[in-house]
Symmetry: none
Subunit: 284 residues, 2 copies
């Protein structure tokens, strides 16, 4: 069975006519006939009832159609996912957590396109656990995440440390008042741990937010205080929209890059990593 046979079958099923199918597929009618014959011989059943005015599916044909569609779809998808685009020498697959996407990957991609124009890029966003699994399965070349897990055969490097600082929308009474309308923003396991250490007596804040960007938006619109990346907060302080809480401890949130210890293309990997680090410097 060749994929051509499937396509031919489906084309005929669609247009009900060997000749038209032959035209659409750019082959002769005898080829179409032969292809159908091959399929029918394989099944030992005829797939079409021939008549003067074209053909119709037999019941076996009807049943086969469903599978033919599935096979055709899967093959197409496989092709789409696996085939190397024309003009490219290889593919580099990188996965990153969503939260690292815009600050890092969006800047990394154009740099890679420039420095390695013959390398196709496949980038994905996913959770760190899923990224780790894909890395160890060899489905990804590079993973960028906040909470990697040590796995044999994979190397974990520190990529950058983001500093989280406490900022508030209060213009006055900053030091004493920030706790009043504090918003707990969940920056992950490590942050939660440090947060618990730093403020052991803090009651559960009235508002807590699971995703960083949302928390910042919230306090900008409704007023409040919370921990946010220095990089993001500083311009807002410059604009007078936020104020630093100077005596509050800052927290750090390291991001890591993970890759296999035995890459297929050492040179390319090193390039990708150094570009990633270069981008990370501007991002942190």
């Amino acid at each position: 069975m060749k994929i051509d046979h499937i396509m031919t079958f489906l084309e005929i099923a669609a247009c009900g006519n060997f000749n038209r199918a032959a035209d659409n597929l750019n082959v002769t009618q005898s080829t179409v006939s032969a292809r159908v014959k091959t399929l029918e011989d394989q099944f030992g059943r005829s797939l079409f009832t021939r008549s003067h005015s074209g053909v119709e599916l037999t019941s076996a044909g009807h049943h086969f159609k469903r599978y033919a569609i599935g096979i055709q779809r899967l093959w197409q998808q496989a092709h789409q996912e696996v085939t190397l685009p024309k003009g490219y020498k290889t593919v580099l697959a990188l996965g990153a957590q969503v939260s690292l996407w815009d600050r890092l990957i969006l800047k990394w991609m154009p740099r890679m396109r420039e420095k390695a124009s013959d390398v196709a890029l496949r980038v994905e966003a996913d959770y760190s656990s899923s990224l780790m699994r894909q890395l160890s399965d060899g489905l990804l070349d590079i993973g960028v995440m906040y909470t990697p897990r040590q796995i044999p055969g994979l190397v974990i490097d520190n990529l950058f440390e983001e500093t989280l600082m406490l900022a508030t929308t209060r213009e006055r009474d900053v030091t004493a008042g920030w706790l009043e309308d504090y918003v707990f923003v969940d920056w992950g396991d490590e942050f939660r741990a440090r947060h618990g250490e730093a403020f052991p007596d803090m009651e559960t804040p009235a508002v807590s937010v699971g995703l960083g960007a949302l928390g910042l938006q919230y306090i900008l619109e409704n007023g409040g205080s919370g921990y946010f990346p220095t990089r993001v907060v500083e311009p807002l302080i410059g604009q007078g929209r936020l104020f630093p809480v100077h005596d509050a401890p800052s927290a750090s949130r390291p991001a890591y890059v993970v890759y296999t210890a035995t890459p297929k293309d050492e040179e390319l990997l090193q390039l990708a990593l150094s570009e990633l680090r270069a981008v990370a410097i501007t991002a942190s």
Copy 2:
């Protein structure tokens, strides 16, 4: 692309060795080499990394494997369906988690044979994630599982809710003593969550069991307490082999049926679903 290429690819992926694959497929090694080469040429990417001691999948190979499996299965099933024995109109494919097998599928099958004697049945047991993939690839008509995942094009219906109750082998001192020899049986994410809520202070039990049936066997043989389906426990209570812990909270564990929104045979699907629901009533 020929189906032989797919089979060859999968055989190699399974045994990691061109020579052994050649043996298993009853062709020469050079044929295997050539087949792989055609695939690789088509994709413009290598699918295996050759090494001294056999071959391994490249990342492209890993990606392709998923589709190769699907195509191979679809082709196989197409063959099965198209060459149906006389008297059968179609095949209905159902997949279920192992744990739902005996309580549901074994009862469902004879009913279907009776009500739709011209429909061949193909039933499989697998994990829910694998079932979901097969459903979305069109390899299954119906899936029955505890933890479906929402996928476009697939419909998820509640099938029944199983009640889990706490039971113990202790004849006396039931209420106070059950914790002593408690066995934690893992009934899935939702159960773990409810369990944590209900017993926030519980220390890690000395024995925990991943598969329900094993847990029950364990406490019946060695004594102990744990959560089990009411349906299973009640007869044992009747026999005096188990005793209910009356003041412990019970948990529910919903099971779902998943099917495509665009079935090949709506009527048959509805019959299968209604039979499944009928069976579920007696099972819950």
